[in-house]
């Protein structure tokens, strides 16, 4: 489904990704782990089309098509979804209006009829339950005044409504207490299907207790330095990144 080949990317002229290779097939869940500053979020941003990042080399194919030539909105319609680490607050645009506009843009792209306000409201309300979000949040400005956990649940709500082919979760576990983490994990697990893939970017192993990945990759210095199965995550938890010869800036700072 997604093929990343020798991907290099830079921000402000500084190279962050230095040759990433990754194959993701439908139905798979991949976790990318790594210390802070290893390029995890850069990878998510590049895949979603954030123009602050410049791809300097390599290619990314989605279902055989060149993803990097496409605008952000086209990538989204082709099925790329990025759950943001820091979802943006947009006062003045209601969450409901935002979600409906997005869902209908997606439906039109897929050759489906747009949903009426009433039908969409019904769908949205049901879906809020799935992520344990009060439907009152639909009436508020997009993420406006939401707590950290509410913002993350709103991201998963969007993923459930937009039904992406590849959901990328950028540090979705950060800032969540254990209850919120479970809700978010349940939402992501509900997304799992044989046609859909999930790419989780995370610093910590704890999310992987709830969303069990098929593959774990360790990103360091802009490259994938080790790949393995789920047990790799457990090993990282136990031994840290040090045994791979990687300095975790957090640990360095802590020391």
């Amino acid at each position: 489904m997604l093929s990343i080949r020798n991907l290099h990317a830079a921000v402000d002229g500084k190279e962050i990704l230095k040759g990433i290779d990754l194959e993701i097939k439908p139905g798979e869940v991949h976790a990318i782990m790594g210390p802070n500053g290893s390029g995890k979020s850069t990878l998510s941003a590049v895949l979603a089309g954030n123009e602050a990042y410049e791809v300097t080399e390599g290619e990314v194919l989605l279902d055989g098509e060149n993803l990097l030539d496409k605008e952000t909105e086209e990538r989204a319609r082709d099925g790329i979804f990025l759950a943001f680490q820091y979802p943006v607050e947009i006062p003045g645009v209601s969450n409901l209006q935002f979600l409906r506009t997005a869902v209908n843009a997606m439906r039109v792209h897929r050759g489906l009829e747009e949903l009426s306000a009433v039908d969409f409201m019904k769908l949205a309300k049901e879906t809020t339950k799935q992520v344990d979000l009060d439907p009152a949040f639909l009436k508020r400005g997009v993420n406006e005044g939401f707590s950290g956990g509410e913002k993350k649940r709103n991201e998963i709500l969007q993923a459930l409504l937009l039904e992406p082919r590849l959901a990328i979760l950028d540090e979705t576990d950060s800032g969540l207490d254990i209850d919120a983490l479970k809700v978010v994990a349940d939402g992501v697990n509900a997304l799992r299907s044989p046609e859909r893939a999930v790419l989780m970017v995370t610093h910590y192993q704890r999310l992987l207790n709830h969303i069990v990945p098929d593959y774990v990759h360790v990103l360091a210095g802009g490259k994938i330095v080790k790949s393995g199965g789920r047990e790799l995550a457990l090993e990282l938890e136990e031994r840290g990144y040090g045994w791979l010869g990687i300095k975790d800036s957090d640990e360095v700072e802590a020391g």
């Binding site: 979804f81 990025l82 947009i90 645009v93 935002f98 506009t101 843009a105």
Partner: protein, 429 residues
């Protein structure tokens, strides 16, 4: 050699006689004489600095637009309504309230005694040095609306006054309203300025409010005239103890759009909310000047103005807060945010604070910016079309203020027009 500042063409002061009662006719003539040597604003006139170049008082605009018929449906109204066509009331198109304690009369219908009382009060809410053009209104109005609410009178539905400039020929028109709100009275006045015809015309409109203790007045002012209309307007208000003015001004740009809003808080507890939205496109102009005078202690003012300028248009905001020496415990907030949708557009914003009391809370802020890139990325990353995302964000910028307009029919009309404006602004972008 210095060139003498241009003065107002005498053509503007050769107004024909009117049907006004003698006291108002006398006031009119007196103002006319005083205006004879009035220098026109120039680039060097501080409060017309950015707008004098749009002001073109040519002789062809001097003639009064001829009174005629009502030209057609105005905007959606939801309440009482009065249609004023080229300055003349059209009774058959109007629906006057019949409510105890509320009197609404044409200036021409006033008896001499009432006309004298009114003549003594007209212009009293406005600082005439700041709003020279309001004086031209007083020198030229041929009629007006005198709205009087007795103590405790409550107008149960909004009153829409629709001023229609019918510019089949070039000329000018001078709409005028005076609202005398008695103690604890309440009303909502919606002023709609619209136009038909395609000749160049000047609308010089003045509305004044006198609010007695505890009076509560909402004023919505919609500037919706066409591309051929030059509009200069002034709104003045004086508020006594615990009176409240809730003002909402929404305007679309034109060749010249100028509005001065002057509010005086004259007794403790008086308070006002002043919201304003102006949007401009093509080569349009819009200039809002506001002044809040905190004369008495313990008064609150809350002011929020937002502008959107697209293409090569020009929007101006000048907000003055003047806290007098005795106005301790004043609470004044002013915010002006501006959105530039193109590199060719211009926005000038200037807060002016003059504070002579030492125990006050006064905050102000002004920003000029473009749409937030991170918000835009967030929206398009959900598959939303870029143009639609721009529209959503631009609407969001002003919707916060539109949603505060307490008349649903107005909100709907305005939102639809603003949407259209914003869609046009992004067309071809």
């Amino acid at each position: 050699m210095m060139k003498a500042a241009p003065t107002l063409s005498s053509a503007f002061l050769e107004a024909a006689g009117s049907k006004l009662p003698a006291p108002l006719q006398a006031l009119r003539e007196q103002r006319g004489k005083a205006l004879a040597d009035m220098p026109l604003p120039t680039r060097k006139t501080e409060n017309w600095k950015y707008s004098s170049r749009y002001l073109k008082l040519t002789d062809e605009l001097a003639a009064s637009l001829p009174a005629g018929r009502n030209c057609g449906p105005g905007l959606a109204v939801d309440g009482y309504h009065i249609v004023i066509h080229n300055g003349v009331l059209v009774p058959e198109a109007s629906d006057f309230p019949d409510v105890d304690g509320i009197e609404i009369r044409s200036f021409v219908d006033l008896d001499d005694e009432t006309a004298q009382q009114l003549a003594d009060r007209l212009d009293n809410t406005l600082d005439n040095n700041a709003v020279q053009m309001a004086r031209l209104n007083t020198a030229r109005f041929e009629d007006g609306l005198y709205i009087r609410l007795r103590q405790d009178a409550v107008l149960d539905r909004p009153l829409f006054v629709i001023f229609e400039a019918d510019a089949e020929a070039a000329g000018s028109v001078y709409p005028r309203i005076y609202v005398d709100a008695g103690a604890n009275s309440q009303m909502t006045l919606v002023e709609e300025y619209i136009s038909t015809g395609d000749q160049t015309a000047l609308v010089d409109a003045v509305t004044e409010f006198s609010l007695a203790d505890g009076a509560n007045v909402t004023n919505v002012r919609l500037s919706l005239e066409g591309e051929n209309i030059h509009h200069i307007g002034a709104t003045g208000a004086r508020l006594l103890g615990h009176a409240r003015l809730d003002s909402h001004c929404v305007g679309f740009g034109g060749p010249l759009r100028r509005h001065d809003l002057q509010v005086r808080l004259e007794a403790p507890g008086a308070n006002c909310r002043l919201n304003g939205v102006a949007v401009t496109q093509d080569k349009q102009h819009f200039d809002n000047h506001t002044t809040v005078e905190h004369v008495a202690p313990h008064c609150d003012s809350e002011e929020t103005y937002r502008n959107i300028a697209a293409d090569e248009s020009h929007a101006i905001f000048n907000g003055r807060i003047h806290i007098h020496k005795d106005a301790q415990k004043s609470n004044a907030n002013m915010s002006n945010k501006n959105l530039l949708l193109s590199t060719g557009a211009e926005i000038d914003t200037k807060p002016e604070l003059e504070i002579y009391a030492d125990d006050v809370k006064c905050a102000h802020g002004a920003t000029v910016g473009q749409l937030d890139e991170t918000a835009l990325f967030y929206l398009v990353s959900r598959g939303i079309d870029r143009r639609e995302a721009n529209t959503l964000l631009s609407m969001a910028f002003i919707n916060e203020l539109i949603e505060q307009i307490p008349v649903e029919a107005v909100r709907e009309t305005v939102q639809a027009r603003l949407n259209r404006f914003i869609e046009q602004a992004f067309e071809g972008a």
